[in-house]
Symmetry: C2
Subunit: 333 residues, 2 copies
DNA sequence: GAGAGAATTCGAAGCGCTTCGATACCGTGC
DNA sequence: GCACGGTATCGAAGCGCTTCGAATTCTCTC
């Protein structure tokens, strides 16, 4: 492995000059710069990460804490992760993966100066990691919005706005009997701030038009969707507009509507919130508000980088939802 | 941040003594060790990762290259990743995430001494990364088995054995007309060594009993499963035993069998190969050979660590399949 | 009780890089 | 021709740790 000293010798300059060429922190004359760059190329020189970290007190690594507990929506997780890694690379940073959802892991990585910043995914309303994150001596960005955001940097989809948007879409099409098929009961109860925010957005928007919404929790499976839909058609046959916030159940719901003689969109209008590329794989495509996992990951990195430059106050960034129509909303029969 | 010097002062010993207490590379007397350990605890000392890496030429980091291209089975990917990270931590290593499936990324991470070893997932038969991996100056472990394994360390499920096991299970139950619903046509064609190995295992085992197998490629969707099954029942109504190697289509297949009046297992015996926790979520549970993602990830780490100790020759480790019965195989009607 | 040998601990060099102050060199203006 | 302000480059210190050889202390043995 070539060292910076080898480069300096090859280019006939001092060690520090090479360093300044690489970092750009001091002006270097055109000819010298070129000689150095040529030497770097010819020796295939890459600075030793550890040495850089030691001398500069910067590791150029972001730690990313990913949830691996069962029942999590892996597709969206992967999208976040991909977004974070891609964005990190554009800032010349790498990503270190943490999985144990253990406060100590965060502290360890910080104390060892393994990472300059931390991004934590899937933050719950009352997340046990919050105190540590607040006390951390380096930037932390949360994906998800806890109950108390003071002193924290958070980013997420604006689920309330998504709920309002989905509902408004149905109401604008003329629907007056609307239901929300949401997350599982257990998710509503335990954590899942986003499920609650989403529901509140739906309910609020409906209330503005003087409407009530039937809210049905739903198991995150194909069968769960079919079952809940069957129940809905029995209990509330007058419902003509459906907001679905349950990815895994969506196919089951759509297929069950077909079988029940209430096909989308003539028999039932449907708007879904889901990750990208799900809506298109269905028998009948569905108007979708996609969770922009890639964008959220990127924004999280940007926030972390900004805070690395200059520490800022707490801040919550909610990404506005976008609805992609697929012809699944029609006026009620 | 406390340094090793602070610890030394607090414990009244020299710097190197502290280092030896931590690494255990030289004997330290009981009393001194205790004083040092106490100081470490009280100062909450964690060694600076960069300094350690610089001085010891070991970063204690494993680079993990994860595929993020669309159409990949995210569930199994996540299981691998979780297995790798968990195992790495037991070896006191962290995991650095690489996503760009770019040979240069591997070289960069190696040249910068960011990682001691590399684990590459989802290796194709003729993977473009193979030359670089062979030439790498540090251990590389592949998850997946390429065409030419010379000089490489590989680990994967023994898909051929899985195919044989699934088929034998059906044959032992008395089935003589067997079909394999496999990966998508595109997967068979392009990469996906595992799909081919699996198919060959099925065909070989059937041939031993003088049977032929109908092989049907299948889109990895619920609808894809339903559609292929419908076609199967039309073209080959005599088939009574099914091997399914297509996770996403499995639910569609099982449900379609139900609707066609050929419920599992009385109307059709089914054995599936899939990730854990899929088989149980079905309307009718299905005998499953689960891909032990967690184990494979762990083995990959173990192989990398072993090669870090002492470089060895190329080696391919195939994990034996296990079948978990769920009552989906019965004698033919 | 002295010397040999083993058991511990210490000191210093060095890993490869960044960064600060200092030096060398340039053209200007008077 | 000389002091001056810039600009481009150099040198050396230091980041926090590991590791090797040397020094010290302890334990026996005769």
């Amino acid at each position: 492995m070539a060292t910076i000293g080898d480069v300096a010798r090859a280019a006939g300059v001092s060690l520090s000059t090479v360093s300044y060429v690489i970092s750009g922190k001091r002006p270097i004359s055109q000819p010298t710069r070129e000689r150095v760059e040529r030497a770097i190329r010819e020796l295939a020189f890459h600075p030793h990460a550890g040495a850089q970290a030691l001398a500069s007190a910067r590791s150029n690594v972001i730690a990313l804490m990913v949830p691996f507990r069962p029942g999590i929506n892996v597709a969206i997780i992967m999208e976040f992760v991909a977004g974070v890694v891609t964005a990190a690379r554009t800032f010349d940073h790498d990503v270190l993966l943490l999985t144990e959802e253990d406060v100590q892991e965060i502290d360890r990585v910080a104390a060892r100066s393994l990472a300059d910043a931390v991004i934590v995914m899937d933050v719950e309303s009352e997340d046990p990691r919050l105190p540590s994150l607040r006390a951390l001596d380096r930037p932390a960005v949360l994906i998800g919005v806890p109950e108390d955001t003071s002193g924290l940097a958070c980013v997420d989809l604006d689920f309330a706005a998504a709920g309002r948007l989905a509902t408004r879409t149905l109401i604008d099409a003329g629907h007056t009997h609307i239901a929300l098929i949401g997350a599982s009961r257990e998710r509503f109860a335990r954590r899942a701030n986003y499920a609650v925010r989403m529901r509140d957005g739906v309910v609020e928007q409906a209330a503005r038009s003087g409407l009530e919404v039937h809210v049905l929790p739903c198991d995150p499976t194909y069968a769960g969707g079919s079952d809940v839909l069957a129940r809905l058609l029995t209990d509330h046959p007058d419902v003509t507009g459906l907001v679905v916030h349950n990815e895994a159940a969506l196919a089951g719901i759509v297929d069950a509507l077909d079988r029940a003689g209430r096909p989308v969109p003539s028999g039932m209008s449907v708007v879904a919130i889901n990750v990208a590329n799900i809506a298109e794989g269905l028998r009948r495509p569905v108007d979708s508000i996609t969770v922009p996992g890639h964008d959220i990951g990127r924004i999280a990195v940007q926030m972390a980088m900004a805070r690395l430059e200059q520490d800022g106050p707490g801040e919550t960034r909610l990404v506005a939802p976008t609805l992609t129509p697929h012809g699944s909303v029609a006026p009620p029969a």
